[in-house]
């Protein structure tokens, strides 16, 4: 759907976007996008992995094994995988608290993620950060932020450094619909546009901040349209169709790489509550059911692959089971890992 149409439509255009055909003919699209059979299956596998990671996290919590809380992104796999495949592996990632999927899609070591989850010393952050602060600097994953929106202006700095050093990576900064109303969102978009920085902003609009419907929180939708105020190009797409995401992000990333920052809004949905103390009182069971059954990104992709003859039910189950196994092995690794030594409490306060 074009931006012009979106701007004119009454309710954000979400219905129109989401009821679109999405990928259409998968084979044709894949060819157009230059994606091979293996790559598509790998994308499918990664989506299953993310789904299982999130569900396993939930189970671990229900079993009393996780200290604290967590913010699960089950239902948003297409955004993570579509984006990660579209950008380069050395492009920088600034993530947020609901970002396990993005880490996994960028190639994080699931064992180390799980260990960090359980607060173990073997975890990515030596058990100091937990679910909300996972980072892998060696692969340019610059960490997840627990303050809503705080990563948005970090992208300005990363983009600035990339520009000053004349490098050709870009920085992908992810935030949610709620974060778009933080003051720094506006400061940052203004500055990346002003300085023409290589930044790809992705607003994962999953319809809810914590409990507040995006329509009650945002004066004018779509959120992405705000980019116009800063002279930035923007897109608003169906975030649950992985190939749409892939196509859009590829284009957006290339633009960012030339020094033209872009804002992409992906419409998606989360199945779990905001965090573990969320009772889902602010949305109906029917709505959750509707998204699960009719708009689930993994189901849709699987259907497309099967229709194109590149996957069958059995192989799909197999890939899914293999993904689950990876998660289970990660849990075993994490549970067997030791806690940090208490005498190292003060170790990372100063560099």
């Amino acid at each position: 759907m074009t931006n012009e149409k979106l701007k004119k439509s009454e309710k954000h255009g979400i219905e129109e976007i989401l009821s679109g055909d999405g990928a259409g003919d998968l084979l044709a699209q894949a060819t157009k996008l230059g994606l091979s059979h293996e790559q598509l299956l790998e994308m499918f596998r990664t989506m299953c992995t993310i789904r299982h990671f999130e569900y396993m996290a939930d189970q671990l919590y229900a079993a009393g094994k996780v200290h604290g809380t967590m913010h699960l992104s089950a239902g948003q796999e297409a955004v993570a995988v579509g984006t990660a495949r579209a950008v380069r592996s050395d492009d920088y990632l600034i993530n947020h608290h609901r970002g396990h999927g993005h880490f996994i899609a960028k190639g994080a070591d699931i064992k180390l993620m799980m260990a960090e989850f359980l607060g173990k010393d073997a975890g990515y952050c030596h058990g100091r950060g937990g679910s909300m602060h996972i980072a892998d600097f060696s692969s340019n994953s610059l960490g997840a932020n627990g303050i809503v929106g705080a990563g948005i202006p970090h992208a300005v700095g990363v983009g600035l450094a990339l520009q000053m050093k004349k490098r050709d990576e870009i920085v992908v900064a992810i935030f949610g619909d709620g974060a778009a109303n933080e003051g720094v969102f506006h400061e940052a978009l203004n500055m990346v546009a002003l300085w023409k920085l290589p930044v790809l902003y992705i607003c994962e609009n999953n319809k809810y901040g914590m409990s507040m419907d995006v329509e009650r929180a945002t004066a004018k939708l779509p959120i992405a349209q705000r980019a116009e105020a800063y002279g930035m190009p923007w897109y608003c797409i169906d975030g649950n169709d992985v190939l749409t995401v892939y196509e859009t992000m590829k284009e957006a990333a290339e633009r960012a790489r030339t020094g033209q920052p872009v804002l992409v809004e992906t419409l998606t949905y989360r199945y779990f509550g905001h965090s573990k103390s969320d009772r889902n009182l602010y949305r109906s069971k029917e709505e959750i059911k509707d998204w699960r059954e009719n708009r689930d990104p993994i189901k849709r992709f699987q259907a497309q692959l099967i229709q194109a003859g590149w996957l069958d039910e059995m192989r799909a189950s197999q890939i899914d089971a293999e993904a689950l196994k990876v998660i289970e092995e990660a849990v075993a690794f994490a549970e067997a890992s030791p806690d940090p030594d208490p005498s190292t409490l003060m170790e990372f306060v100063y560099a």
């Binding site: 229900a62 079993a63 009393g64 094994k65 604290g68 573990k276 103390s277 009772r279 699960r292």
Partner: protein
């Protein structure tokens, strides 16, 4: 294998949930994620989804039951499985063992414990086997109750002595170091606070007083070491012991003669001088044998009449005096006593006396005769009860014989100081009588 359906945890601090109603029943086919039952926590009602697809079986709890989190509430049978494949459950009651987590819990309790309680116990180092339980399993309240009982406030030991004088920390330190009492120092600070300068002043005054009394010049010798010890002991002796002193004179002509002739022998055999002290020690040892109360000590309310006769001989040193002891003097010959005496004296001068040499004395003799002192009174050497002070041998005119003729004889004056608590005048007198006897008639020692 049937999949266990556990009561999940929704809140960080949650321990149990109450079943409101079962949406699905025993034998129903359920799909994963489908709501199977509704439960209530402290906060609100929650739909509990199935963890897997299959047939619901082996339901263990009913509506209204309060179920601990992570307890198995039912099973989900996979295709082909039957209720017969369910794990046996003797009592479908709340005593069914739940999964005790976290897995690495150091405190293993035979009584089931909730995850929250297990974690709290581990954190606080509580031995769960010591925690008393209200219900069927140990909850957080039980652990908290145990902890509050355990750490009942124990009154801090009140320091027994507290100086309630306003004084700065520096003043207190200086007072400690100078061994001054804060109460005795006048404070110049606000509200009479003792300041460092006040303590310094007091310390200066203290040493100034010692240095010049009535403005007369003196060289200061600190009372330390041996001097101090002697001072302490003399004070104690004089203070504690009621001294009586009895004096006798003895004609030492015979003693002198013995000394000269035995001295020749000693010279030949031992190559040393035989002093008159050696002879006196022998005589005194004999006299002490006959007068046990002189060889005694009063201690712990009892008089010890020592079996051994260990005679100390007061010896002058450059800085004071020391009393080496001749042990078992009554069992030694004159020659042995003389040898011992010579050895002790020599070692005393070289500062080589051992502790044994000065211990366990039962009687002391002190001889100032070599300085021409006729007679003197010594201070008893506690814990002994008597000391014999021996003066110089002086030729004196004495009256002898039946016709009261005057002759010149060598006379020795000896004064016995005795502890009147132990030794009465008569007892002391008898000892001295024996002493004189022994001195004037050497053959008495074989009596």
């Amino acid at each position: 294998m049937p999949v266990p359906f556990i009561m999940p945890k929704f809140d960080m601090d949650q321990e149990k949930a109450t079943i409101v109603s079962w949406v699905k029943g025993e034998g129903d086919f359920i799909k994963a994620e489908e709501t199977v039952l509704v439960v209530e926590t402290e906060k609100v009602a929650i739909d509990v989804p199935a963890p897997a697809s299959g047939t619901l079986a082996g339901i263990r709890y009913q509506a209204g039951d309060a179920v601990p989190v992570t307890a198995i509430i039912a099973y989900i049978l996979k295709e082909g499985e039957t209720p017969a494949s369910l794990p046996k459950n003797e009592k479908a009651s709340v005593i069914a063992a739940p999964i005790v987590l976290p897995p690495a819990s150091a405190a293993f309790a035979p009584v089931p414990v909730t995850p929250v309680a297990a974690r709290l116990a581990k954190e606080k180092g509580v031995d769960l086997s010591k925690v008393t339980v209200e219900g069927e399993r140990i909850t957080r309240e039980d652990v908290e109750r145990y902890l509050s009982n355990k750490t009942a406030p124990r009154a801090a030991p009140v320091p027994t002595s507290r100086v309630a004088v306003p004084a700065t920390p520096a003043a207190r330190r200086l007072a400690r170091e100078s061994d001054l009492e804060l109460e005795a120092i006048r404070g110049s600070g606000p509200r009479g606070r003792v300041q460092a300068v006040d303590v310094n002043l007091a310390a200066d005054q203290k040493s100034a007083v010692a240095a010049s009394i009535n403005d007369r010049p003196a060289r200061l010798v600190p009372l330390a070491g041996m001097r101090q010890k002697i001072a302490e002991r003399m004070t104690a002796s004089f203070h504690d012991i009621p001294h009586i002193a009895l004096t006798v004179e003895a004609d030492v002509s015979a003693l002198e003669a013995s000394r000269i002739s035995l001295g020749g022998l000693f010279e030949q055999e031992e190559n040393g001088k035989l002093s008159i002290t050696a002879l006196l020690v022998k005589i005194i040892a004999w006299a002490l044998e006959r007068n046990p109360y002189i060889n005694a000590s009063l201690e712990n309310g009892q008089i010890y009449l020592w079996q051994d006769i260990n005679i100390g001989v007061a010896t002058a040193l450059p800085n004071g005096l020391i009393v080496p002891v001749i042990h078992q003097a009554n069992k030694k010959s004159i020659r042995e006593i003389a040898i011992a005496l010579g050895d002790l004296r020599a070692r005393a001068q070289e500062n080589k006396l051992s502790l044994e040499d000065v211990q366990r004395g039962t009687f002391t003799i002190s001889n100032l005769g070599m300085f021409g002192i006729h007679q003197f009174r010594a201070v008893i050497n506690p814990p002994e009860s008597a000391i014999l002070a021996i003066g110089a041998i002086i030729k004196k005119p004495v009256v002898i014989g039946e016709r009261d003729e005057v002759a010149v004889r060598p006379m020795l004056t000896a004064t016995l100081s005795a502890d009147h608590r132990v030794i009465d005048g008569v007892v002391a007198a008898r000892f001295l009588q024996d002493f004189v006897q022994g001195v004037e008639v050497p053959a008495s020692l074989s009596y």
